[in-house]
């Protein structure tokens, strides 16, 4: 896949949360069509990295560079990053009472397409994507994440991704809290979204999602750094042996 263009590139990203450095120099290149996975134990900085990349005001990128399709994104507020083609599926999506899934998605898609855009296809698009994710049609008129189960929230995150169709999707612990059926549905949605022009970065603690969404590269994150990279076999090794051997091999501890 080396002939493909670089879609998303991180150069020596450092992130601080409340004056504490939690990501200590992460570099990564995702080419169009690739799926990368960042695996690491709790507290290794992987969620901080994805939040910071999306522009969460609580996560400050103190140094480094990030490019999406060659454009630097770090000066952009979150909505511009989104409209530029970046997407973050949240680990804990928030409820927005009174705002229906359909109205929210229509507003978001309109923000992407521009105020004058034709939205006449929206209803059909939403219906199709919901069906593909086995989301009951009634969810279109339910309030966003309000009273949703953990699994329903994750499905609706993937629904948002499918509708907005970003270039680069960061999926933060999308597998957590899912039973096996939901995991299969959500993975199906991710695979359906994935194509030769977009990229995916899966951030996960466990290997099980990777049984369904095959990564091209697996990176191990420890102490705020990517300490080891490899192919899918690395994920299996982590599943079998945990993270201790990486800690021993690299002399690093998991926690930042």
């Amino acid at each position: 896949m080396s002939h493909r263009t670089t879609l998303f590139e991180l150069k020596d990203i450092h992130v601080e949360v409340e004056d504490k450095e939690v990501v200590k120099g992460v570099s990564l290149k995702v080419k169009a069509g690739e799926v990368h996975a960042i695996m690491g134990p709790n507290g290794s900085g992987k969620s901080s990295l994805s939040n910071a990349l999306m522009g969460h005001p609580g996560y400050e990128i103190t140094s480094g560079e990030a490019y999406l399709q060659g454009h630097s994104i770090l000066e952009m507020p979150p909505d511009e990053r989104s409209r530029a083609g970046l997407f973050l599926a949240f680990q804990y999506p928030l409820a927005v009472p009174g705002v229906t899934v359909a109205n929210f998605l229509r507003a978001a898609l309109k923000a992407h397409r521009g105020p004058e855009a034709d939205m006449s296809d929206f209803r059909r698009l939403l219906k199709r994507e919901m069906a593909a994710l086995s989301i009951d049609p009634s969810f279109a008129t339910r309030y966003l994440n309000d009273g949703f189960s953990g699994g329903e929230k994750k499905r609706v995150e993937i629904l948002q991704m499918s509708v907005l169709n970003p270039k680069m999707a960061l999926l933060d612990e999308t597998d957590s809290g899912l039973d096996i059926d939901a995991l299969k549905t959500v993975s199906g949605g991710i695979n359906r979204f994935h194509n030769a022009d977009n990229g995916i970065l899966l951030v996960t603690h466990y290997q099980r999602l990777l049984n369904y969404v095959q990564p091209d590269f697996v990176h191990v994150m420890l102490g705020g750094r990517l300490v080891k990279s490899g192919g899918p076999e690395l994920a299996l090794k982590l599943e079998e042996n945990g993270y201790d051997w990486v800690e021993q091999e690299t002399g690093l501890t998991a926690e930042v």
Partner: protein
């Protein structure tokens, strides 16, 4: 952006809330009134009002008696006692009669008043979706009309003064029975100097399918508007009444102190919807109460924007078996405003049910309070009570208080109670902006979403209007 910066930004955006009030609603008319009394309150003023209206003696006596009660009663000890203490009763005009006779055609209303109601969109609404309209300007109703077919069905919809003249026996039977003049200081004040308001009687079994509306406009500075409304829905009848209110912006205060009494007889249904958007120099101190008889339903849908201080707690007394009451209120408190709103339900019969939903938004240094009482009497067995209070805070100086009281005197009651205070939080904004919405769009979406349980209860035209008001209030954010 740090959290405090984000909040500062948010405050800056929202400080423009309702800032175009002056041009949209706050314009003043040059006045040429038929009668403009002197400032201040006395038995002479009361006598002048009752004589000008040529009222029966019993009403005059009620007024004088109520004035003595007003003098004797202390100010309320709740709400905002500081602001209440600033009311200068001697500086208020208690009665202004803009024109000699009420009109039934907009063409006959003096141009400067007609233009006011035109700007407020009343004649247009009347044409499009209302069964009847009453337009009050200062103390009296200047325009009134009702569709012919409703008249034919025996529906009475008049201003209160005409109601007293033309249907004295009904008014005498019900006036002050739901809210006696001894109820509170402002109810006694209203009883003493009331003028205008609506009188509605719906005969048994009649379903008034389209809403009746009254619009209350204060124009003069230091005006006191004291409309009095009495709605009686006879057995098995149905009616929806809507009121709206605005006033010009002045540097000194005006007082709006209405009394509204609703009586829903057996099996009747009354919905009373208010969308008020008073100027910020108005004290809005209103007493609203309903009595629901056997299997009757009363719903208060109460939206409070604007005013300097609002104290209003719509009440429903469920006195007949199987009666049902619902109070849905929203309050929006902006800069220097205090919305002390709430609800009261008295369960005094078996198998009664009630639901209170209160939503408030406070921004900048605005303050919204929920003050509620649910009382379940001993005999009110198999009763259901639900109370839900939601407060949304925008900015770090915004304030919300909740004062819920429940007095339950029997054990066969199902009670649900929930209270929540939330902030338009950085996290929520981040979530929505991460999907491509600008921060302003995201904030508006959150506020509209918060109000949604209320707006969905309004007739479509009013829901649109309310959303537009909120959008305007959030403007500057919208760019």
């Amino acid at each position: 952006m740090s959290e405090s910066e984000a909040i500062r930004q948010q405050n800056a955006d929202l400080s423009r809330l309702n800032e175009d009030y002056a041009t949209r609603y706050g314009f003043r008319d040059p006045v040429d009134y038929f009668h403009k009394g002197a400032r201040g309150l006395s038995h002479e003023v009361v006598e002048m009002i009752t004589r000008m209206k040529n009222e029966p003696r019993w009403m005059a006596e009620r007024r004088h008696e109520a004035l003595d009660i007003f003098y004797a009663k202390p100010m309320p000890k709740w709400g905002n006692t500081k602001l209440l203490g600033e009311i200068d009763f001697d500086n208020i005009y208690y009665f202004m009669k803009p024109i000699e006779n009420q009109q039934a055609s907009w063409d006959d209303v003096p141009e400067y008043i007609r233009k006011t109601f035109d700007k407020l969109g009343i004649p247009e609404a009347e044409k499009n979706f209302l069964g009847g309209v009453s337009a009050q300007y200062e103390s009296e109703v200047v325009y009134h009309s009702m569709k012919e077919d409703l008249k034919k069905q025996g529906v009475i919809f008049l201003d209160m003064d005409s109601g007293l003249r033309e249907h004295e026996e009904i008014v005498r039977k019900y006036f002050g029975t739901v809210i006696p003049s001894t109820d509170n200081k402002f109810a006694s004040l209203n009883t003493a100097v009331w003028s205008g308001g609506s009188f509605i009687y719906v005969p048994p079994g009649v379903d008034v399918k389209i809403p009746l509306q009254a619009y209350f406009r204060i124009n003069a500075e230091n005006m006191g508007q004291f409309e009095r409304t009495l709605i009686i829905a006879d057995k098995g009848s149905r009616v929806h009444y809507i009121e709206g209110c605005t006033a010009p912006v002045y540097s000194t205060d005006s007082l709006h102190s209405a009394v509204v009494e609703l009586i829903a007889l057996e099996g009747a249904y009354i919905r009373y919807t208010t969308i008020q958007n008073w100027a910020r120099n108005i004290y809005n101190l209103v007493t609203k109460r309903a009595t629901a008889h056997k299997n009757a339903t009363v719903e208060w849908v109460d939206g409070n924007l604007g005013s300097r201080l609002t104290m209003k707690y719509p009440c429903i007394q469920l006195v007949g078996e199987g009666a049902r009451g619902e109070i849905l209120s929203v309050a929006f408190a902006g800069v220097d405003q205090h919305q002390d709103a709430g609800a009261k339900v008295i369960h005094a019969a078996p198998r009664t049910s009630s639901r209170i939903t209160s939503k408030s938004i406070s921004k900048d240094n605005g303050r919204a309070s929920y003050r509620g009482l649910v009382k379940v009497h001993k005999n009110a067995v198999n009763t259901k009570v639900s109370v839900e209070c939601d407060a949304l805070l925008i900015g770090e100086d915004a304030r919300s208080d909740t004062y819920p009281t429940m007095e339950i005197d029997n054990e066969q009651v199902r009670v649900e109670h929930e209270a929540r205070v939330s902030k338009v939080a950085e996290e929520q904004l981040f979530y929505l902006t991460s999907r491509g919405l600008s921060e302003d769009e995201a904030r508006l979406l959150i506020v509209n979403g918060f109000m949604e349980p209320f707006t969905k209860e309004l007739p479509l035209e009013y829901a649109v209007e309310l959303n537009r008001l909120i959008e305007l209030e959030m403007e500057g954010s919208i760019g």
